[in-house]
């Protein structure tokens, strides 16, 4: 039987296909958060005054610091891809290490913020939380849920970036074979994108 090579084989390396897959996955993630944004919007409308009262107590400084941290980490990831394409492997690794460090500081910052709320009993199950007005508790719980899910994505993104470092070290990511790093970068930018909306919704509309 004559051997026929399938020109459009699914088993060949296809960077464009992998990138498309990543984008489609990001759309799913966007709509996952989208459901939460819908809930937020409808309850903000319903509990307008209560939301405002709690929002006034949010610490804009902490939120702003975290915004700067995440945007800076987006920069370092973008630059690491630029560096990798230029063949500057060591620079790329250094930039990703900085990114992971920024991710950690984001989480530390978040930890202090959450523990400060919990210290005041503002978490489900505590006396102070149960005494809140209905809409006020709603705001706080949405805050925990949305920033919590976002924090989970920060951790996943940081793990992905750690894998990128390992693959660069092993020579499995090169300037010619960079799709894994680009996809990890896309994921990281999504984390930033979500935060760009979370920041005004929870901190600035007070």
């Amino acid at each position: 039987m004559a051997h026929y090579e399938i020109p459009n084989s699914g088993l060949k390396r296809d960077d464009e296909g992998k990138k498309m897959g990543m984008w489609l996955f990001l759309f799913t993630e966007v709509l996952l958060f989208g459901g939460l944004f819908l809930v937020y919007a409808m309850y903000r409308f319903q509990y307008f005054d209560e939301f405002k009262i709690v929002a006034e107590h949010m610490d804009i400084t902490l939120g702003a610091i975290n915004t700067v941290i995440l945007i800076a980490s987006s920069l370092t990831v973008a630059m690491s891809i630029t560096a990798m394409k230029k063949g500057l492997d060591n620079v790329a690794v250094l930039l990703i290490i900085i990114t992971i460090f920024l991710a950690l500081s984001f989480m530390v910052n978040k930890y202090f913020e959450w523990s400060n709320h919990i210290h005041h009993g503002l978490f489900p199950g505590f006396e102070a939380f149960n005494n809140l007005e209905k809409g006020e508790g709603m705001f706080l719980f949405l805050y925990y849920f949305m920033t919590g899910l976002h924090g989970l994505h920060v951790v996943v993104g940081a793990v992905l970036l750690a894998i990128v470092i390992k693959r660069i070290m092993l020579g499995r990511i090169t300037s010619e074979n960079i799709v894994f790093q680009e996809n990890a970068g896309l994921y990281w930018h999504l984390v930033d994108l979500i935060w760009i909306y979370l920041f005004p919704l929870f901190y600035l509309l007070h």
Binding site: G34, L38, I81, T82, K85, H189, D192, P200
Partner: protein, 95 residues
């Protein structure tokens, strides 16, 4: 499909970062200037967030170099989400 070759540069990454920082500063300032929870404040905050998001998607996520199909995809997602929020609003606004 031919890939349009582009030379990535640190400079454009840094310019994007600068713009994002500037917009962050503006949105914090605007939240005080617009009084926090007025309709104007919501529009300004969401508007600036959308400009920032566009910058990230276009420059950091390299949509400006990508095939047109990705722009169509993103447009479709935005439209679908817009449908959700509009129809929900029709219920909540009139209830």
């Amino acid at each position: 499909m031919s890939k349009h070759e582009h030379t990535p540069s640190f400079k454009s990454d840094l310019i994007t970062f600068g713009l994002l920082m500037l917009l962050t500063a503006i949105t914090i300032w605007a939240s005080y200037a617009t009084g926090g929870t007025t309709v104007l404040a919501v529009l300004v905050a969401m508007g600036i967030a959308t400009v920032k998001a566009t910058l990230v998607v276009r420059n950091f996520m390299h949509i400006k170099y990508d095939d047109i199909i990705y722009k169509l995809f993103i447009g479709a997602v935005i439209i679908i989400f817009g449908v959700f929020i509009t129809l929900l609003a029709v219920d909540y606004f009139y209830r």
